[in-house]
């Protein structure tokens, strides 16, 4: 690993100033992804700025009923919070489906959405990758695509975003609060992550030196009937092949409203607005759920590759969404 300087700043403002002033600097949160990248040579920063103890690590209830989650809160603590478990079960379930107990203790709410793709070619510095080295080419296209995108990919990159938490946040209309060189701002969570387009090296809309300080979860009764369904290649400790975060409101057998996001299928958590639209006013039935999935998946394109590529993700996602909504609709609202 390339040696780097380490800075433990006094506060978040100093952290932001330090990183903003140095194009070769990075923030270090829980380190569950960055430390791997340091060892592998995927990241070779000159300066690592530690955030330990600098970011809010509590969950605060705002006047409008929203929850403000400090960026320093651990994934474990967020998953266990009674308010989250009661009001946003999809978020608690998503967090608990990710990684392992040890990693969830280290990982932070601010760092989790900023983890990078686990594309095997991105993580291997001996293979070309447009995300790691713009213009070098995409090794995943035509390679091992089992864990790659079927939605929103480009000819430059077919990687997927690995976070489970982010999928729930995207469904829940969360907002990201940041502190950057230009001050504070708030970004809708669904606008945090980018699709790869012709600049796959940029994962998010954040500027260099911009730091996530908190995530706000607006109050929304619909989220009480919500769930996260993750499908993966082993029972635990694996990234999603596909995942569904869903919240649903049903009255008299008719779907009044829905919030849906997909994971494991795109460069960003995929908010499925077309599926939501198709569900509103439809009968709560498998036929409606499948139609909603089809509405969202009309533009889905499998990535051909070794072992048959990833075409299976399209029927799998349709079936997983259907199963998730069926279970939710059949459940009494609490």
């Amino acid at each position: 690993m390339k040696p780097f300087d380490y800075l433990a700043p006094a506060d978040a403002a100093e952290a932001v100033r330090s990183v903003a002033a140095n194009p070769d600097a990075v923030f270090l949160g829980g380190g569950t992804n960055l430390v791997d990248h340091l060892k592998l040579g995927v990241a070779e920063p000159g300066l690592v700025v530690g955030l330990a103890g600098l970011l809010p690590s509590g969950i605060e209830e705002l006047d409008d009923g929203a929850l403000r989650i400090g960026a320093g809160v651990s994934n474990s603590d967020l998953a266990a919070d009674p308010r989250v478990r009661e009001r946003f079960p999809v978020l608690s379930q998503a967090l608990l489906s990710g990684a392992s107990g040890q990693l969830r203790n280290m990982a932070t709410v601010g760092g989790n959405p900023l983890q990078r793709t686990r594309c095997v070619y991105f993580q291997d510095v001996t293979t070309p990758c447009n995300k790691r080295e713009p213009g070098s080419g995409c090794s995943a296209i035509g390679g091992w695509t089992r864990h790659h995108a079927v939605l929103g990919a480009s000819e430059h990159c077919i990687a997927v975003h690995p976070s489970d938490m982010a999928v729930a946040m995207a469904a829940l209309d969360a907002r990201v609060r940041t502190l950057g060189p230009a001050g504070e701002r708030a970004i809708p969570f669904v606008e945090l992550h980018r699709l790869p387009g012709d600049a796959p090296e940029r994962d998010t809309a954040l500027e260099h030196g911009e730091l996530i300080t908190a995530i706000d979860l607006p109050a929304q009764p619909i989220a009480r009937r919500s769930a996260y369904h993750k499908v993966r290649d082993r029972a635990s400790y694996a990234f999603a092949l596909v995942s569904v975060a869903a919240a649903i409101e049903v009255e008299g057998g008719v779907i009044r409203d829905a919030r849906i996001a997909f994971g494991g299928v795109a460069h960003a958590p995929w908010r499925a607005r077309r599926a939501e639209e198709a569900l509103r006013g439809a009968p709560a039935s498998d036929g409606s759920y499948r139609a909603a999935a089809d509405a969202e998946l009309t533009d889905a394109r499998p990535a051909e590759g070794l072992d048959g590529g990833n075409a299976f993700k399209i029927p799998l996602l349709r079936r997983t969404l259907t199963a998730t909504l069926r279970d939710l609709a059949g459940e009494d609202p609490r």
Binding site: K39, T127, G142, W144, R319
Partner: protein
């Protein structure tokens, strides 16, 4: 030599003698050997699969503060023997596989060594490579023999005529994936070259055999074996990948000689293990079975296609178990290899039997289905009276006993044979069975020494404990052979300073070393009687095995599989194995071996797959995030039982070796259970959800 027919210590479930130091973290593994002022090594690997190194720029690495040396083909010592091309590292510019070591950085810390390795610039003249295994390749060849030294092809009777005449037949192709052993402890070596006198090299190496490693390294470096000591008290797993030295050992020894008097340490990274420490070849198995209506098998044919590396042949004997498993008057087996530009394949738990019992044991289930016969009964009906091929009587063969006992314990009698008709919640439920087998092997050489030390007895032999229990089980054998209480026996293993011992491989350890200990104890008692004085000492060596009998262990494995109706996810909540493996030396460590093997078999069934990208020639999922092994949550109830088997022919203890049989047949049992659950025959491992999804799409949910 005699061994009590009703032993005192053997058969007791004594706890591991090495358990406490391992739990406390005080057991020293190779990399942790206390050595002052050690230098650290990191290898630079080729990024092409075939070609030549045309330029190596080491200036930036050498300029780095803390870098001691950079070894390259240009300055590395010439090895005395380059016959084993896997070990002939840094001897030339040719690149034969991606990941091959092309330079080695020696530095004051592991971090600097790794940084230095990243700074070495390598230029290549790249040639087109070929890393794709297919059964229709035109360059497949028949090796002269398959491992360990068995005929490549066999043929009895007329398979084609028998198949043409068969009332019922199965003809399918099955595949197993490429697998990497992935022991928890990476391949690691520490080395010290003492410049005094003629020179003396000490290696602390994570190995399955200190003496075989010494022999190999002495040959590579042109040393007298007396100039070389290999030490390895503890091994964090090997599963065959530490059964012979890989390039890390040569690199450490080379670097130690380059910095004489200074110790060096090398631990491969997990990623490096995927190209430098061996793996199991993928297999393509065409299996054909023919039978009469009553289930009497009339033809068995297995044709296997595998890969090997272009620089070193390794011919996995996957067709071998089909030669002896079931009776049939007509039988043929063949092995064909493709020599590719890939890393060198090597030993992995139950080589031959593990992959080679997948295709045939699924084919048996398919045959049972077509016959409308219970798969347990089909196997029982085709039990051979003597070993097919050789015609030798079995020393003991209790496959039928295992099948019957397992069927009772598993509740097989209530099984409805129809596939796809049982549902529990959102899951389809099925059960399956497959047979296991593994040969009983005895290595030709091993010696033990027993010495009275005060009131105690010391047993010395250069054996290995890979986590298997050797520290404990050899003490049990020695105690009974000496007629003393086991608490008085000290075992010393894992060092070439002790008498020569064979490799811990092929499930031969206990048979071989235990026999040597029994011989030594016999000599000791004959010499000193029951009151040996302090310092009394005797040695004994393993004697040739009985060659009048065919000797194999057998087993039967039962699996319950669940397939999710919506997602196709496969879970295996229950595995049950019954084994007939002679006398069990220690039920506690034996159970761990059996369920460990079965867990690894489950892992093979559902998860493991090294994905070799033919465009680059390397395994792209080369870490434990990408290469899935079964996690705790994947293992439900797992039960291992064994029959009380009295086999007077295998060895003095009556034991058969149990390190490998547990992995044999598991994947077939799971595949058969998945078929029973959802009606899909998954003939290509691993059994992932995409392989059953199409059937769920066609199935009405309610």
């Amino acid at each position: 030599m005699t061994f009590p027919s009703e032993p005192e210590a053997v058969g007791r479930d004594l706890p591991r003698r090495d358990g406490a130091v391992k739990v406390l973290g005080t057991a020293t593994y190779a990399y942790e050997t206390p050595l002052a002022n050690a230098a650290y090594l990191h290898a630079v690997q080729a990024t092409i699969a075939r070609g030549r190194v045309t330029a190596l720029d080491t200036a930036a690495a050498e300029a780095l503060d803390g870098v001691v040396a950079v070894l390259t083909p240009g300055n590395a010592e010439r090895l005395a023997s380059t016959e084993d091309r896997e070990l002939a590292v840094l001897q030339g510019e040719e690149v034969a596989f991606r990941g091959q070591v092309v330079a080695l950085v020696v530095a004051d810390s592991s971090e600097v060594a790794r940084h230095g390795a990243a700074l070495v610039r390598v230029e290549y003249a790249q040639q087109p490579h070929d890393a794709e295994l297919r059964a229709d390749r035109e360059d497949l060849y028949a090796p002269e023999s398959v491992n360990p030294d068995l005929p490549t092809d066999t043929s009895e009777g007329d398979v084609d005529a028998a198949l043409a005449a068969a009332e019922v037949s199965v003809e399918e192709t099955y595949t197993t994936a490429m697998y990497h052993n992935n022991p928890l402890e990476p391949h690691a070596t520490a080395a010290l070259w003492d410049p005094a006198g003629e020179g003396f090299l000490t290696l602390w190496d994570s190995t399955q055999g200190v003496h075989p490693t010494r022999t190999a390294l002495a040959s590579v470096f042109g040393l007298d074996e007396a100039q070389l000591r290999v030490v390895c008290p503890y091994v964090g797993g090997g599963f065959g990948s530490k059964g012979q030295p890989h390039v890390n050992v040569v690199l450490a020894a080379m670097a130690a000689r380059a910095v004489p008097g200074r110790p060096v340490r090398l631990a491969l990274t997990r990623q490096q293990m995927f190209s430098l420490t061996g793996y199991r070849t993928p297999t393509i198995q065409r299996c054909r079975l023919g039978a009469d209506r009553d289930g009497t098998i009339t033809a068995i044919a297995v044709d296997v296609v595998e890969l090997t590396s272009r620089i070193k042949e390794f011919a996995e004997q996957s067709g071998v178990p089909a030669r002896m498993m079931y009776a049939s008057p007509n039988r043929s087996t063949t092995h064909r290899l493709a020599a590719l530009d890939v890393p060198v394949p090597s030993w992995m738990r139950a080589p031959g039997e593990c992959p080679g019992m997948f295709g045939p044991e699924v084919a048996m289930d398919e045959l049972a289905e077509r016959l409308g016969l219970d798969p347990v009964e089909l196997r029982i009906r085709n039990e051979p009276a003597v070993e097919p091929g050789s015609g030798k009587p079995f020393s003991s063969r209790n496959l039928v006993g295992c099948l019957r006992e397992g069927a009772v314990r598993f509740g097989w009698a209530e099984r409805d044979p129809r596939p796809g008709v049982r549902r529990r919640g959102d899951w389809l439920v099925g059960t399956g069975v497959a047979a296991s087998t593994y040969p009983v092997s005895r290595m030709p050489k091993s010696t033990a020494t027993i010495r009275r030390e005060g009131e105690r007895y010391a047993v010395e032999i250069g054996a290995a404990d890979l986590g298997t229990g050797t520290w404990t089980t050899l003490a049990q054998i020695a105690a009974d052979a000496l007629g003393v209480t086991v608490a008085l026996v000290d075992v010393r293993i894992g060092d070439t300073d002790y008498p020569m011992a064979s490799v811990a491989g092929g499930s031969s350890g206990m048979t071989t070393w235990g026999s040597a200990v029994v011989e030594a104890a016999g000599a000791f008692r004959a010499k000193y009687g029951s009151e040996p004085p302090d310092g009394a000492e005797a040695s004994g060596s393993v004697q040739p095995a009985d060659d009048r009998h065919a000797m194999h262990a057998f087993g039967a494995q039962f699996a319950e599989a669940h397939v999710h109706l919506d997602t196709g996810e496969v879970r295996v909540p229950r595995l049950l194995g019954v084994f007939a493996a002679g006398r069990i030396i220690n039920p506690r460590t034996a159970r761990s071996q059996f369920i460990g093997g079965m867990t690894m078999g489950l892992s093979m069934a559902l998860h493991e797959q090294s994905v070799l990208d033919p465009r680059t020639g390397h395994v792209v999922n080369h870490d434990l995030a990408g290469y899935h092994i079964t996690a705790n949550a994947d293992v439900g109830a797992i039960e291992a039982y064994w029959l009380a088997e009295d086999d007077p022919h295998v060895n003095a203890m009556g034991s058969k070796g149990i390190g490998e049989i547990g992995i044999v047949g598991t994947a077939a049992a799971v595949s058969n259970a998945v078929w029973h659950a959802c009606g899909v025959r998954v003939r290509d491992l691993p059994i992932t959800l995409d392989k059953v999804l199409h059937a769920l799409e066609e199935r009405p949910r309610h």
